[in-house]
């Protein structure tokens, strides 16, 4: 067989071999991304709405308070989420904010609104910790619009 033909067939074989690897990588990728899309669809989709509207007299006060959680990086980056008075954050389906990240515990942290208008972030015994401005928090911590919250790979902020 001619040397040139051999060369062409050799290269064709190696191309098929590496193509196989690329296809495997594509399938693995689709496996992951497919799952994530499903999650975010549920998070931002037509989920159940809060049952109890805030009392009318508080409505005006609320405007100045942060009631939006902006996600800056990690899963759902760019999302802005309307908060409810009590937000459990974790990987479990039952949390109000589901973060499907390997470094997030099933019920990781609790973000709760207090009567004086501030928000308190409490770590619920998570494995990898809850961070406010890069400091791991042990006790419940008051967070404001200036603070950066990090859970797993997800960074978020409060916004008004």
């Amino acid at each position: 067989m001619q040397a040139f033909t051999v060369l062409v067939l050799k290269i064709a074989f190696l191309t098929i071999l590496w193509l196989f690897i690329l296809v495997i990588a594509a399938v693995v990728n689709a496996d992951m991304v497919g799952r994530r899309q499903k999650k975010s669809a549920r998070l931002t989709g037509d989920g159940p709405q809060p049952d109890v509207p805030p009392p009318a007299k508080q409505a005006r006060k609320r405007r100045k308070e942060p009631w939006v959680l902006a996600i800056d990086s990690g899963l759902h980056a760019g999302d802005r989420l309307q908060l409810v008075p009590e937000v459990r954050i974790g990987r479990s389906e039952t949390c109000e904010l589901v973060l499907d990240d390997d470094y997030v515990s099933s019920t990781h942290a609790l973000l709760s609104h207090r009567d004086d208008g501030t928000w308190v972030l409490k770590d619920l015994g998570s494995t990898n910790g809850t961070y406010v401005n890069s400091q791991r928090i042990g006790d419940p911590t008051i967070v404001s619009v200036d603070d950066t919250i990090r859970i797993g790979d997800v960074q978020m902020r409060l916004e008004t």
Binding site: L14, I16, W18, V23, D51, P85
Partner: protein, 595 residues
């Protein structure tokens, strides 16, 4: 919040296409060998094609039926590697002049695939193995030391790692690696806490307590014994490395790795001094050309790979007949010569992908034993492949391990298919749609791995009709089936296992929290949330069951009504409200401290 079915899709068609694609690589090698050597496609190609692709379709159908949710790329990669190995063996057959190996190897492959099918159809819950840590370790150690028994063990080319019974020879270490991975996982799943937390800090290194060191010392002595008496560096390294890696995975303490390295280094230095053959292995590795008569195969492999160059000499055009053991230990050199470094790298990447999928399976699994088992199997596979390919390419001293799926040899082929079968069963269990069935009144799931059993929707329907029973005494009364087959947690009093309701109490909020999830999409303005718009469908509340009562599995099926969770259990829900169960240990064993 209704429990949502969550899981990976079934990737049936994808898997079949990938399997056929992967098989075609080896088959192309076979066809090219004929083309390059004889200018003709081998005459018997239709028969071989039917057998080869038939096997692939068969294993796909079996996997599709028994383990539909299993990782769709593990089988295709395995078959691609097997195919490349078979093509290489066939190619060596053509020039070796000895009896053909392809037939025997194919028989071993068929046995391996048959065992895979048996395992995936019969083994439903790998967690069963957790109950027998000592039996498993005894069996594993027995297998490892079997070659030392006089008359049973045989010494082949200096290494005493074979046993020979009635004309058949077998390498028990191949099976032992699976058994020992299971036993290590069972032991560590039990001891993770102690091994991870207890200890003192000396010189900035957290040292474990002496009494926790027992198993490590035992493994160390055993691996040194293998090194000295069985004369096999590779097996010794494989098992000690496996144990140390699994402890590290279980505890996330770097000190275990450092300790392992120190122990192995000290043992190695001792053996180096008193056992001459290990020293020789090292010399052959560092200066093979000083020993042209002894380090022959290393030198030959170097020349082979160098002759192959970047793109290889082409299938059938290399000289594997010049390499001793080109069909077993040195098969990566024989293949590498003909498909070049570009091809050999692709093979290494395929092995890497297989290990990656194994570790991913471990990450996805919920049970700590299963997690560790999958990780252990992946590490055993990784260490073995690394040691042998590293030895052939002179990255490491050459050891007598087989190249999984490629080397000629029945025991290796069969054992590695069993390993893949185990990973697939674990993967299927981890990736299928899961419902957290243990649901308290808060809708919070108790996921402590000891107490959680996951069900598929079909199984939940079966629990509802009483066809099957859950293993755990969970409060099945709280799981009802809607018309859609979805399971909704009841808002009734929590009656589950007391152990489920330990852990961190969530501060009782004031005023009471609305239990429904309510993170809504981006708010255009800091708006007032929309008014309540969730008409509750009141569900018939089952009678509370005392916590001590034996589980009665009679989840009432509500026909046709599409029961949803009543939206406001609120403060008026009957019975006491237990704190939200949360077990911080339930997940992220792999993530601990890895922020």
């Amino acid at each position: 919040m209704a429990a949502t079915v969550q899981g990976y899709r079934i990737r049936g068609a994808t898997q079949l296409i990938l399997i056929l694609f992967g098989q075609s690589i080896g088959f192309a090698g076979y066809i090219l060998t004929g083309l390059f050597r004889d200018n003709a496609v081998p005459a018997q190609w239709p028969v071989l094609a039917i057998c080869w692709y038939g096997l692939g379709v068969l294993v796909h159908i079996g996997a599709r039926i028994a383990i539909p949710y299993a990782d769709p790329v593990i089988l295709p990669i395995t078959l691609a590697l097997t195919g490349i190995g078979l093509a290489t063996l066939h190619r060596i057959d053509l020039t070796s002049g000895t009896s053909p190996m392809l037939g025997n190897q194919f028989v071993a492959l068929v046995i391996g695939v048959a065992l895979l099918l048996v395992i995936v159809f019969l083994v439903k819950d790998p967690r069963r193995l957790k109950g027998y840590p000592f039996l498993l370790s005894a069996l594993g150690f027995l297998l490892l030391l079997l070659p030392l028994v006089p008359h049973l063990g045989t010494e082949v080319y200096g290494s005493r790692i074979w046993i020979s019974v009635g004309g058949f020879s077998f390498q028990p270490a191949e099976i032992a690696k699976i058994v020992l991975a299971a036993s290590f996982a069972a032991y560590l799943a039990d001891k993770t806490e102690v091994l991870a937390l207890a200890g003192r800090r000396i010189l900035g290194l957290e040292l474990p307590r002496m009494r926790d060191m027992g198993p490590v010392i035992l493994m160390w002595v055993l691996s040194l014994a293998i090194m000295v008496f069985e004369n096999d560096l590779g097996t010794s390294l494989l098992f000690f490395g496996l144990f140390v890696m699994m402890i590290y995975v279980a505890t996330a303490r770097v000190s275990w790795i450092i300790l392992g390295l120190i122990l192995f280094g000290a043992g190695g230095a001792f053996v180096l001094k008193f056992a001459g053959h290990v020293q020789r292995r090292i010399d052959f590795w560092l200066h093979p050309f000083d020993f042209p008569n002894d380090a022959t195969q290393i030198i030959q492999a170097q020349f082979g790979l160098s002759h192959g160059g970047l793109l290889g000499s082409g299938w059938g055009l290399g000289r594997p007949d010049l390499i001793i053991f080109s069909y077993s230990d040195m098969i990566s050199a024989a293949t590498g010569e003909e498909i070049g470094i570009v091809g050999l790298m692709a093979i290494i990447v395929l092995y890497g992908l297989l290990v990656f999928r194994g570790l991913k399976t471990s990450l996805v699994a919920t049970d700590i034993f299963v997690k560790l088992f999958a990780a252990g199997l992946s590490f055993a596979f990784l260490l073995q492949t690394f040691a042998i390919i590293g030895g052939v390419t002179r990255l490491l001293p050459l050891t007598g391990l087989t190249t999984p799926f490629m080397s000629q040899g029945g025991s290796s082929m069969i054992a590695n298919w069993i390993l893949v079968a185990t990973l697939l069963v674990i993967s299927n269990q981890a990736r299928r749609p899961q419902l957290q069935a243990a649901v308290g009144p808060e809708g919070v799931t108790a996921l402590g791995e000891e107490y959680t059993q996951v069900f598929s929707t079909r199984e939940l329907a079966q629990i509802g009709t009483g066809t099957i029973r859950p293993v755990l005494p969970i409060a099945t009364q709280q799981v009802r089936l809607g018309a859609s087959g979805n399971v909704v947690p009841d808002d009734n009093e929590w009656t589950g296992n007391d152990e489920l309701t330990q852990a961190v109490p969530v501060p009782a909020p004031e005023p009471p929290v609305v239990p429904t999830p309510a993170i809504s999409p981006p708010a255009p303005t800091p708006a007032v949330p929309p008014p309540a718009s969730s008409p509750a469908v009141p569900a018939p509340a089952p009678a509370p069951v005392p916590a001590s009562a034996p589980p009665v599995f009679s989840a009432p099926v509500v026909p046709g009504s599409g029961v949803t969770r009543p939206t406001s259990p609120g403060p008026t829900a009957p019975g006491p409200t237990p704190p939200a169960p949360h077990d911080p240990e339930e997940d992220d064993y792999f993530g601990r401290g890895m922020d």
